[in-house]
């Protein structure tokens, strides 16, 4: 794969499996479906909710911090944070000013980064701090080898390049999506969402007391049932379906912080969502 070729079409090619190919061609794409290497197979990714945990203050955050500290004794943690109510506020102002989705995505990073620093401060006694997004991805394996864990702003670095939502202006890839994508790229052991509900309910439990908890479901069923409200970003359904390495996630209630460690140890303590079959593959 090292010879340079100039062939009849006037383009200088480097010989490779994909040389001269259109990467848009479906056959070419199918030929690239091969097993994926896991960069951090022992690390766990935990997304700590912004509005559901961080904004709830000391009474909720301190016990979660203690639970995380307990996990850090035996496990490597990559902790993402959401932006919470401050992100909602900046969205509302930005939308009123007519700013596009990409700008809203760029603005929201400041809020989850603030929460990452708050959590990083509380986890500092355990050697865990917030890492600036500019160096986080490239240096993650080094951090994980040298520290018990790291905190980062859960958002993906999509910024101005955020995708357009199907409806309205809110960026579709927020901190749940960013934390999940990171877990998938690095081939991490588990992905856990820490929220303020026990998991996924048949209807929003805040509005419908007595709504039934769904303990386990797959993405196909999730789509079929068309839930009006979800305790996580809707785009996660697509991302999980296309995942190659992280094929299930668990949502746990941060008001019962002992469930975080149980989830990392593979116990079923919230709602587990499995990736359904991808029909195209």
């Amino acid at each position: 794969m090292s010879d340079s070729t100039e062939n009849r079409d006037g383009r200088h090619h480097v010989e490779s499996m994909l040389m001269r190919e259109s990467l848009v061609d479906r056959e070419v794409q199918r030929s690239t479906e091969t097993p994926v290497y896991r960069m951090l197979p022992e690390a766990h990714v935990i997304k700590v909710g912004g509005r559901s945990v961080m904004d709830a203050g000391r009474a909720v955050v301190y016990p979660v911090v203690e639970a995380l500290a307990d996990c850090l004794k035996t496990k490597k943690l990559i902790i993402g944070t959401g932006g919470g109510v401050r992100s909602r506020h900046v969205f509302s102002i930005g939308i009123d000013l007519g700013l596009p989705t990409g700008v809203l995505a760029q603005l929201a990073v400041a809020d989850s980064l603030g929460n990452a620093h708050i959590l990083g401060t509380l986890l500092a006694p355990y050697g865990v701090v917030a890492i600036p997004p500019e160096i986080f991805g490239h240096l993650l394996p080094l951090f994980i080898a040298s520290a018990p864990g790291v905190v980062f702003n859960g958002d993906p670095p999509y910024s101005l390049w955020e995708h357009l939502p199907e409806s309205g202006r809110i960026p579709p890839h927020r901190s749940d999506a960013g934390s999940f994508l990171l877990a998938e790229c690095f081939g991490c052991k588990t992905f856990t969402l820490v929220k303020d509900v026990d998991g996924l309910y048949e209807r929003d439990p805040r509005e419908h007391a007595g709504a039934g908890l769904i303990r386990e479901i797959d993405t196909a069923e999730l789509r079929r049932r068309g839930f009006e409200s979800l305790p996580f970003e809707r785009i996660l359904i697509d991302l999980l379906e296309n995942a190659r390495l992280v094929r299930s996630i668990q949502i746990v209630n941060g008001r019962h912080p002992e469930r975080i460690k149980a989830a990392l140890e593979g116990e079923h303590v919230g709602t587990i969502i499995h990736a359904g079959q991808n029909r195209e593959r």
Partner: protein, 295 residues
């Protein structure tokens, strides 16, 4: 813009308890929508539809985004690139241009090596970014004497200034998703590459046009390099294109997908940049290649 007094938004610095902090924000909000956003679910379809109601501003309505192909253009070297550079220079005083670059054959080589070694899509995305950055640097040096800068995503805040001062600016086409690149449904090649990254720049800034400079006249029913009988399609909608269900298309499929939800950039043009004058015509709003529209 009409001036009217706005309620001041106060974020209390030190608050005794959280509910008070939320109330403070809520009572100072501009709109009902703002209140719903603070308390409601961002997964609620009705609330999301409302967030699209305030009229959108076009940040750079005079700018044109031009994507220069990697494999299709820059990899051809001097014979293709020099005339295009001349044409860009000729247009410097006539049009504002934000120029993105493709990756091309070296990205294909890096993807092949990476695939063989089992590397994930996010890492392939990093590798593709490096190649489109090389191409951006090369175009940058060829345009340097005209004072045209190359900017990375972190420098995009300076883009409006460069555009106002010099009339053009170069960026690498890859969107900066790196390790956070979403997997494709099939295979492992990053689905959002330099066409997508360039297109999203045109959409977010509400640019005047999005022109893809390639080495074919535009869209054909099949790859004209492999099938000489392929038919040229001068104009098509996203819906019609999906119905045709082509095995291969001239722009990344994710551009077509993203165009469906676009607010501003609801048409793109693909042109043959090897033909002198086509870029100028496309900048002037003429139809010289294939125009794809959202509806």
């Amino acid at each position: 813009m009409e001036a009217h007094p706005l309620p001041r938004v106060v974020l209390t610095a030190i608050v005794p308890n959280q509910s008070a902090a939320h109330k403070e924000m809520e009572t100072n909000l501009l709109t009902e929508l703002g209140k719903s956003l603070l308390t409601g679910s961002l997964e609620d379809g009705r609330l999301m539809a409302q967030t699209g109601e305030p009229p959108a501003v076009q940040i750079l309505p005079e700018a044109n985004v031009i994507k220069v192909g990697g494999q299709s253009f820059i990899d051809r070297g001097r014979v293709a690139v020099f005339p295009l550079i001349e044409e860009i220079v000729e247009n410097l005083r006539r049009h504002k241009m934000i120029i993105g670059t493709g990756a091309g054959t070296r990205a294909r080589h890096a993807y092949s090596v990476g695939l063989d070694l089992g590397l994930p899509t996010g890492v392939l995305s990093v590798l593709g970014t490096f190649v489109s950055m090389q191409n951006a640097r090369m175009l940058n040096y060829l345009l340097a004497k005209h004072g045209i800068p190359f900017i990375e995503p972190a420098q995009f805040a300076q883009l409006p200034h460069y555009l106002a001062e010099r009339g053009a600016c170069i960026f690498f086409g890859m969107p900066p998703y790196i390790y956070w690149h979403t997997n494709p449904s099939v295979g492992r090649i990053p689905p959002h590459r330099t066409d997508t990254g360039s297109y999203l720049v045109s959409e977010v800034f509400g640019a005047r046009s999005m022109i893809f400079v390639k080495d074919e006249r535009g869209l054909y029913t099949a790859d004209p390099k492999k099938e000489p009988g392929a038919k040229f399609i001068p104009r098509i909608t996203v819906g019609e294109l999906e119905e045709l269900d082509l095995q291969d298309v001239v722009v990344e499929r994710s551009v077509i997908e993203l165009m469906k939800n676009a607010t501003h950039r609801r048409s793109i043009q693909i042109i043959n940049g090897l033909e002198r004058g086509n870029l100028t015509k496309a900048l002037d709003g003429e139809h010289v290649g294939t125009i794809i529209t959202s509806d």
